[in-house]
């Protein structure tokens, strides 16, 4: 299901226009990404949690030319599904 299908389905369920729904979706996403950028964790009951994790720097070696690279540290968004959801798809 792509973005378009998703918003149209959502608008059908909510009884709103497509335009309003996509606006609401963007609001929600903006808000979530803002909170995540502020290092906040978002946990949604029955769905899972979104969390930003710091990956430390590491040295990786190119297997073909044996060149060693220092990969810098980075912040990564992780999603951990709730047990309820996990079990559902098992």
């Amino acid at each position: 299901m792509n973005n378009k299908d998703f918003t149209s389905e959502l608008s059908k369920r909510l009884g709103c226009t497509m335009k309003d729904t996509s606006e609401l979706v963007s609001f929600l996403i903006n808000e979530m990404s803002e909170q995540l950028q502020n290092n906040n964790q978002i946990s949604l009951q029955g769905f899972g949690s979104f969390e930003v994790k710091k990956k430390t720097e590491r040295i990786s070696v190119n297997p073909t030319n044996k060149q060693r690279m220092l990969v810098p540290p980075k912040l990564v968004l992780t999603y951990r599904p709730s047990n309820l959801l996990k079990d559902k798809f098992k």
Partner: protein, 387 residues
């Protein structure tokens, strides 16, 4: 920061921010996540623009061992949810660390190089030993040619024993040196320095060998004395030239590094000038030579140690001390005499060279270039109080 938000917090934030009725937002958020689950159930794939992709990934069944009982059992194949954030979201999340870049590490290579250099030096010293032993063929065969090239007067002695020949060769070279001097005078200062260093290098090699040739005749010993005196003269001349070179240069702020580069650049010419000499006797390796060149240069710099150099060297360390004192008025006025430097003044008034930057600080209007203060200038010596 580091708060844990739940769905209710999210709904509150949205209503507050966009002025939408709370009821609608609540309904929307719940429907949103329900639909995500629904879409995953049906399509196993959901892409939300600006957020990311949810996917159901099939996991094959695999065998595992129960840690407690040691029994083998099979984990059934199942599917799990994966989430890949959108590139834009990824970037905005990683913003604090965005300036980092993957760097290639060359440490290993550098380390190898250093090792190699050490090894080559050892090899060179071994070569030296070999050279002294008469069984080494190339030396006798090459040296006569070289010598006749250099100085005819010594060609008579070609028929002597090998040991004597080696000694002659050294002497021959040394007597060549004065000749070269006259030629060089017309050349640039760098080349003179290079020549001097080269001579010093050769003498270094000679000394090394002469230790092993302790069984040589008295004749050789007198020659060795002559060599020593020539070495001393050469070094003295080198330091004098360097001193002139540094003082005469209008740009007195010539840093040590610049000096290094000129010296090394000069020394590169050595193998070309007298490559045969090196090949014949000492088996000088370029790396080895450079290390010697460095030693030599350090010595000469130590001897000269002109104030400008000193200030450049110590600046970094000395500026650390700058925080300890404050300037509280002028202690006295002082006329800078010939041969005096700011560091000397600091030593005279404060007992340590390290505090010279305070003098500069106090005389901003008078001293434009702390490395080059003209004589006769009246300098205000600041009064320092400890913080």
């Amino acid at each position: 920061m580091n708060e844990k938000l739940n769905m209710q917090d999210l709904i509150d934030l949205l209503t507050y921010k966009y002025n939408i009725p709370k009821k609608n937002v609540e309904l929307f958020v719940k429907e949103f996540f329900d639909l995500v689950v629904y879409a995953l159930e049906n399509d196993k794939y959901l892409k939300i623009k600006g957020f990311g992709t949810f996917k159901l990934i099939d996991v094959d069944s695999r065998e595992s061992i129960n840690v407690n009982t040691g029994e083998r059992f099979i984990i059934e194949g199942h599917s799990k949810i994966s989430f890949t954030p959108d590139v834009s979201l990824k970037k905005s999340i990683n913003k604090p660390f965005a300036h980092f870049e993957t760097a290639i590490l060359n440490d290993n290579i550098q380390f190898d190089n250093v090792e190699n250099a050490d090894v080559s030096e050892e090899v060179v010293s071994l070569h030296d030993d070999d050279n002294v032993c008469p069984s080494n063929e190339p030396c006798p065969s090459n040296e006569p040619i070289e010598e006749s090239h250099k100085q005819d007067s010594f060609s008579q002695e070609d028929g002597n024993s090998f040991d004597a020949e080696v000694a002659d060769f050294y002497l021959g070279k040394d007597s060549v040196a004065p000749e070269k001097h006259e030629h060089i005078k017309t050349l640039s200062v760098e080349e003179i320095i290079a020549q001097e260093i080269k001579k010093a290098d050769l003498e270094y090699g000679k000394k090394y060998k002469s230790k092993q040739e302790s069984g040589l005749s008295v004749n050789v010993k007198t020659r060795r004395a002559f060599i020593c005196s020539v070495t001393f003269i050469a070094i003295a001349f080198l330091s004098y030239v360097l001193y002139i070179f540094l003082n005469g240069d209008s740009n007195n702020r010539l840093s040590k590094n610049d000096l290094d580069s000129t010296l090394i650049a000069g020394s590169v010419k050595i193998p070309i000038d007298s490559g045969t000499i090196h090949n014949d006797t000492v088996h000088f390796d370029p790396t080895n030579k450079q290390s010697i060149v460095l030693n030599n240069k350090d010595d000469s710099i130590m001897k000269i140690n002109t104030p400008p150099l000193e200030t450049v060297d110590g600046t970094a360390a000395e500026f650390n001390k700058l925080d300890k004192y404050t300037i509280s008025g002028t202690l006295t006025d002082y006329k800078l005499n010939e041969g005096e430097t700011l560091t000397k003044l600091a030593l005279k008034f404060y007992g340590t060279k390290a505090l010279w930057p305070y003098i500069v600080k106090h005389n901003r209007s008078i001293i434009s270039d702390p490395d080059n203060v003209p004589y006769g200038v009246i300098i205000k010596i600041p009064k320092l109080t400890e913080k």
